[in-house]
Structures are given as C-alpha cells and as structure tokens.
C-alpha cells in the first residue's frame, strides 16, 4: 500500500549511446521520452509536468514533442542537475502541481564538439577565464587538484583510483548498452596517458551522445501502470556554493553528510539496507570523496575501501553496475538513476545485484544530491 505523498518512477527510457551525429539534443531527448512512455504504458497526453535538462529550451521541446503540460522548466546542462530535477519532480507530485512528470535529458556533446577546457570553458563560478593566463582550465583539473590534496593528506594512491576505473569497466563489460566494454588491467591504467596529473585518461568520464528520460508519478497512480513502481523513498540536497571557485577544503564532506542524513531519514532506511550504489563519476576521485561523504567509509579511507573490491558486483556495495560515466555513457547522472531503477526492478540481466531492495544515487559537487530508491513504498 502506497503511503500518502509517496512518489515512484514508473517509466525509464534511453537512446543508443555513442556517436549520433544525425540527432540534436531535442531529438535525443524525444527519442528517450518515447522509450520511457512505452515502458510505463502512459501516453504523451498524460504528461502534465515536464523538466528538460541540457536541452536548451522547453518551448521548442514542447513544440516538437506536441506537449502542453501544466508545469514546465528548463535546467542547465550540469551533472548536478539530474538529482535536482528528480527531487523537484517528487516535490511537484507531492504538492499536486503535477501528477505525471517527465524528466527529459538530451546530450549531443560528442557530435556537437563540446570541449571541457580551454577558451570556451564555463565550469565553476562564472567561468574560469580569470585563470586562463596561467593555463588553469577544465573540470578535470579542478578534480586533479582535489585528488592531489587527498593523496597528500591520506596517502591515497593512483592504484586506488585505477581500481575504481577498472571495477566500473568490468561492470560495463556486462552491459550491452555501454560504450566502452573492453576490460583493462591496472597496468593498462598506468599506461594510459595523463590528461591532468595525477589523473590519467581512464580517470575521466566519456564524452558521448545520448538521451535519457524518466517518468515519475504518485504512489497511488503508480499502482495501475505497466511496470512495478520503484519508489523514491528519500531525497536530500545541500550546497557549498559560497565560495566555490576553488576546491572545497572539506572535499564537500559537510554538504554530503547533510544530504545523506536527510535522504536516509526520509527513506526510513540506513546504510545497512542499501544493496547498490550509483555514484556520480565524472572523475574517479569523485567516487572516493562520495564514499567518505555519504558515510560508506571513514574520512581518508576511501582509497583502500575501493582497492579492497567492495564496489564490485558480488561484493557488499556494488557501485555503478552499468559502468557509470567512466565506461557506460556520459549522461550526467541520468543513466545512473535509470540503472538504480532497473536494479530494483530486477531487470539487469548479467549485472543484476541479488535481491536489490534499495539503491542509493549520490552526487558530490557544489550542489550535492542524495536519492534513495526502494522496492517497497514504505
């Protein structure tokens, strides 16, 4: 029985991932939305709330999709926004501003020639133009600075970062949708070129085209639909925006602690209940920082924790079972949320986590989000 105010994911869809030069971001989003609606058994006419992400304009999207929802908004193409959009959708449904909310993401960055660094770099607070004269640019360098400091403070090693990348690639090998599926060794990891030392190429996420859509509705409405609902059991959010031009002194530990506590409390669950982790993996260090901040290991212990194998399928906390951004697809958090839903449905095939009752999506960034999905409504 769904308790009043409960919210569930009832449809998920995605495009092929890779190079899709014939589609723009709107079309990738619409492709994914068609898949998600088909999955849910709902029709375009049923959508009364829409949030588009990375797709530049809601009006254009509604025009090409033939939609007149009650609620619309457009959100910027930053990875932190997948969690924000999902949490906002849950609030819209609880407040009855909308009943069937479609979240639509389209990313043609690969074919569009997006570059994450250099003269067009807009990462961070107001863009990094102030520092280009010194060669400072790119989100990768920002995370390399954090990785170096973590290494100095806690003895974290390149092998431990490599273990994260290797584990996720091993998972991607079991995922037919993943872009990069060939396993590699730690020797291969060390042989991959440095992009911004201490980070190698294999510490970086992919850049590929694709789209993802999720359909959310109330627990009551979810009962009549095509799929077994996956419940959004708990949400949490916290920010570290002032100041945020430079990496945070605490590696975002405090906002992560707050967001995690908020989501676990709402979910009426604890770390012990969680079967699978979906960790925003723009770069391997972010995974380590998340394990510490969201409470899966102690401060400074994340390197050994990852290297000991706890994130692998079959271990205690299988993480990014799809391969994540590092190996499956750079869908900026969306595909990880989709994977959380599929794991709880039990439809992940060779990469299925046994008896997955709870999955935890977490993103470490200047805006931290934490979402706990559950098989049961309460």
């Amino acid at each position: 029985m769904a308790r009043p105010g409960s919210v569930a994911v009832v449809g998920v869809g995605h495009t092929r991932y890779g190079k899709l030069p014939e589609y723009d971001a709107y079309e990738l989003g619409l492709w994914a939305l068609k898949e998600a609606l088909a999955d849910s058994g709902l029709r375009f006419e049923d959508i009364d709330g829409l949030i588009v992400n990375r797709i530049p304009d809601y009006q254009r999207f509604c025009e090409i999709a033939g939609l007149n929802p009650s609620y619309v908004s457009t959100t910027p193409g930053q990875g932190r926004f997948s969690g924000i959009c999902i949490e906002t959708a849950a609030a819209l449904i609880r407040d009855r501003l909308a009943t069937i909310v479609a979240l639509v993401y389209g990313n043609n960055g690969r074919s569009g020639g997006d570059r994450y660094g250099g003269a067009g770099d807009t990462y961070g607070s107001g863009g990094g133009g102030q520092w280009f004269a010194y060669g400072m640019t790119s989100p990768g360098a920002f995370h390399a600075l954090m990785a170096r400091r973590h290494m100095d403070l806690y003895g974290t090693t390149a092998d431990q970062l490599g273990a994260v990348a290797k584990t996720f690639r091993d998972h991607a090998a079991l995922n037919p949708s993943a872009v990069m599926r060939t396993p590699f060794t730690l020797t291969d990891y060390h042989a991959s070129r440095y992009i911004c030392e201490p980070l190698h190429l294999l510490d970086y996420c992919l850049i590929n085209d694709g789209g993802v859509a999720l359909i959310l509705t109330s627990g009551e409405r979810a009962r009549d639909l095509a799929q077994r609902p996956v419940h959004v059991r708990g949400c949490g959010m916290a920010t570290a925006l002032a100041p945020s031009t430079f990496p945070p002194d605490d590696f975002w530990r405090e906002p992560m602690r707050k967001a995690a506590a908020m989501s676990f409390r709402a979910a009426r669950a604890s770390h012990d209940d969680i079967s699978a982790l979906m960790i925003y993996d723009n770069f391997t260090p972010t995974v380590l920082l998340s394990l510490e901040g969201f409470g899966y290991c102690g401060e400074g212990e994340s390197g050994p924790f990852a290297a000991e194998g706890h994130l692998a399928l079959g271990a205690r906390y299988p993480a990014n079972t799809s391969g994540g951004h590092l190996s499956e697809s750079y869908m900026q958090g969306w595909a990880l949320n989709l994977e959380a839903v599929l794991q709880i449905r039990g439809s992940c095939g060779a990469r299925q986590v046994k008896d997955c009752a709870f999955a935890h999506y977490m993103a470490a960034a200047p805006v931290v989000t934490s979402i706990i999905y559950g098989r049961d409504p309460s």
Partner: protein, 133 residues
C-alpha cells in the same frame, strides 16, 4: 598566441599594480574581508563600500596539478598549476617558478614573482620563500 587576462576590465587596479611589482586587492570597507576577482558587494557582509589595498605577496601552496593535455595555443605542455592561499586569505591559481614540480609540497611557503609577459600584462607567479626555515 597565449591566453591573456583582460587587464582593462573591472580588475584593472589589480593588473596595474602587478605592473608596478605589487599586489593590490579589493577590501571590504565594512568588515575588512579581501576578495578577488572584483565584486560590487562583499559576500560576507554585503556592504557596497570597498577600497583597493596593497597586500604582502606571500602565502602557501594548497595543492597543484600538471597539465599534459594542451588546452591553449601558446602554452606548451607539460606545465604546472598551483593553488595558492595568500596570507590575507585570498586564493589564486598560478604557476611555480624556480622549483621542480617534484619538490612541491602542500603547505610550502611561497612568495610572489612578477613576470612581464607582454608590454601590458604582468602575471603573478610564485617561488619558494627563501626566508623560511
């Protein structure tokens, strides 16, 4: 051509001062917080009054990274970027001079070096402090 800062924008007093071999930063006229880049309001007390004041170009290295992927024409790789916290509290990205990257460490005391790179632009770089230890 290497990337150059806009020395005639709102941060002009900062760049003009570097030209003369000194560091000037905007300081809140109400609470005294130093800040960079320029902003009309103080982020701590939201006061609109401020002045540009000279600060000692000394601080510590908080972390660093080494660029191997080239992002800018005119900057050849590899090169090192350091994050410096000045004693006045303001943080800057910069480059180290007079020290091997392998010898850098977190907490290393550094002092400013004024490097003229064009007739109009001087960059603030940092070298290990000689008066330390």
């Amino acid at each position: 051509m290497r990337p150059l800062p806009n020395v005639d924008g709102p941060d002009q007093p900062f760049w003009r001062a570097l030209r003369r071999g000194e560091v000037r930063l905007q300081r809140c006229g109400n609470c005294g917080l130093s800040r960079f880049p320029v902003a009309r309001f103080c982020p701590q007390c939201r006061s609109e009054t401020s002045e540009w004041h000279p600060v000692a170009p000394i601080g510590i290295i908080e972390t660093w990274c080494i660029f191997h992927q080239p992002y800018f024409d005119g900057l050849s790789v590899p090169y090192t970027v350091i994050q410096v916290r000045l004693d006045c509290g303001v943080r800057l990205f910069s480059n180290p001079v007079g020290v091997e990257t392998g010898s850098l460490h977190i907490g290393m005391p550094v002092e400013g070096v004024f490097e003229d790179i064009t007739p109009d632009v001087t960059l603030l770089k940092f070298k290990p402090r000689t008066d330390y230890r």
